[in-house]
């Protein structure tokens, strides 16, 4: 064991080093604002999995990647809110994961997209589209989880991967989130992702066909995800 004198010096050095932590107040605030869902069985695992995996990628050096990324990509930044998690990777891609248990705040998501350098229009209860549909969507956005098919499950968390540099100039990402109140998927949520012409688009409060695309958009021009349905929650 080190001598008492050395131990005192160590204590002093550690106290000074710990006090050097930059802006802990903001970090504390971010930590307390995150959505941890204590003691909620399997669902809390599903709810927290993106953030957990994201930070584990940093901590464990595992690296996460979407369809665009390399396996060596690691998390560089994460924003987690109750409704969504936005994670940035070292390869320049970002992932967005939606939490079906929380209502999406479109302004918050749009602002966070901006912070990540993703030009976007985010709406709830409507979707903005352009005609003709801009090209290049499949190079800019993919869904690692695939588009939803069949009955959406309540524990399911849709994820998309975005490659911001691949968003063509003059276009931006349009995200429309709907609470479906009628039809086959009543009670579920539907999130649609398409590209729009920044200077020419219209918004409609009619959700696109869950099994199709908005008018004027081909199958490769967008992604529609069904989630948060009344199926087994896993909890």
């Amino acid at each position: 064991m080190p001598t008492p004198d050395l131990e005192n010096e160590l204590r002093g050095a550690f106290t000074r080093a710990a006090a050097d932590f930059g802006d802990p107040q903001q970090a504390r605030h971010r930590l307390t604002q995150r959505n941890y869902h204590p003691g909620s069985g399997h669902r809390r695992l599903a709810t927290g999995i993106t953030a957990a995996a994201a930070s584990a990628a940093v901590v464990l050096g595992l690296g996460l990647s979407g369809a665009f990324g390399s396996s060596a990509a690691h998390v560089t930044r994460t924003i987690q809110t109750p409704a969504f998690t936005l994670t940035s990777y070292s390869d320049g891609t970002d992932t967005l994961t939606l939490n079906p248990a929380e209502l999406l705040d479109p302004t918050a998501l749009q602002n966070d997209f901006q912070q990540y350098g993703i030009p976007a229009v985010v709406t709830t209860g409507s979707l903005c589209t352009s005609e003709p549909a801009p090209a290049g969507f499949s190079q800019a956005v993919t869904s690692p989880t695939g588009t939803s098919e069949g009955t959406p499950q309540s524990g399911e968390q849709p994820t998309i991967t975005i490659n911001p540099p691949a968003i063509p100039a003059g276009t931006e990402l349009s995200v429309g989130d709907f609470q479906l109140s009628s039809g086959q998927y009543a009670g579920s949520q539907q999130a649609d992702f398409v590209l729009i012409d920044t200077n020419s688009y219209t918004c409609s409060n009619t959700p696109p066909d869950p099994n199709g695309m908005p008018a004027g958009y081909g199958q490769a021009d967008g992604i529609g995800l069904l989630y948060g349905g009344p199926g087994p929650s896993g909890s």
């Binding site: 010096e9 802990p24 204590p38």
Partner: protein, 195 residues
Amino acid sequence: MDWAGNATVKHEFDRFTAEVSDLLLRTGYLMTGDAKDAEDLAQETLLRVARRWKRVRSMDRPAAYARRILINLVLHDSDRRSRQRAELQPGDGAFDTSDETAARALREIEDVAEFRWALAQLPARQRAVLVLRYWADLSVAEVADVLGCSAGTVTSTASRAAARLAEALAHSDPAATDPMIRPSLKGPTYADPRS
């Protein structure tokens, strides 16, 4: 238990998060030398505590449990990288720095970044021993409990770690303490004296 239907549990965990955040952030900062990594570690720790909250909430010291998770996250990461192979084996403490010399090196630190850099040169388990013993102010027995080793291992590791820290301080390059080129804990950046 459904968290959404139990506001009390959620409130209780939120309060715990507020209370323990500073401890986790600073411990993570000392263990990684990087504020962002510290925040990621703290978040991962809280997620793991949340998953076990039903059990953790009844513990005498849930904050200590959370700190243990954080330390283990760093150690497991370290183990994965095999950076600290046999760090507790004989030969690892091949520094003949005396305690007096080590104490003097610590006294002469001019920039706290220099200390952080030197700390980052230590294997994770040695770093953990020093952080828990001299920042968290845990007893030798408590450190041994957190790290799952004997009290004797803690004391011998503390001595080796202090000597190694002093050695790193003696050879620290002021330029290396620049945050932009500071050695990252994510890579095997320190020179192993045994090699």
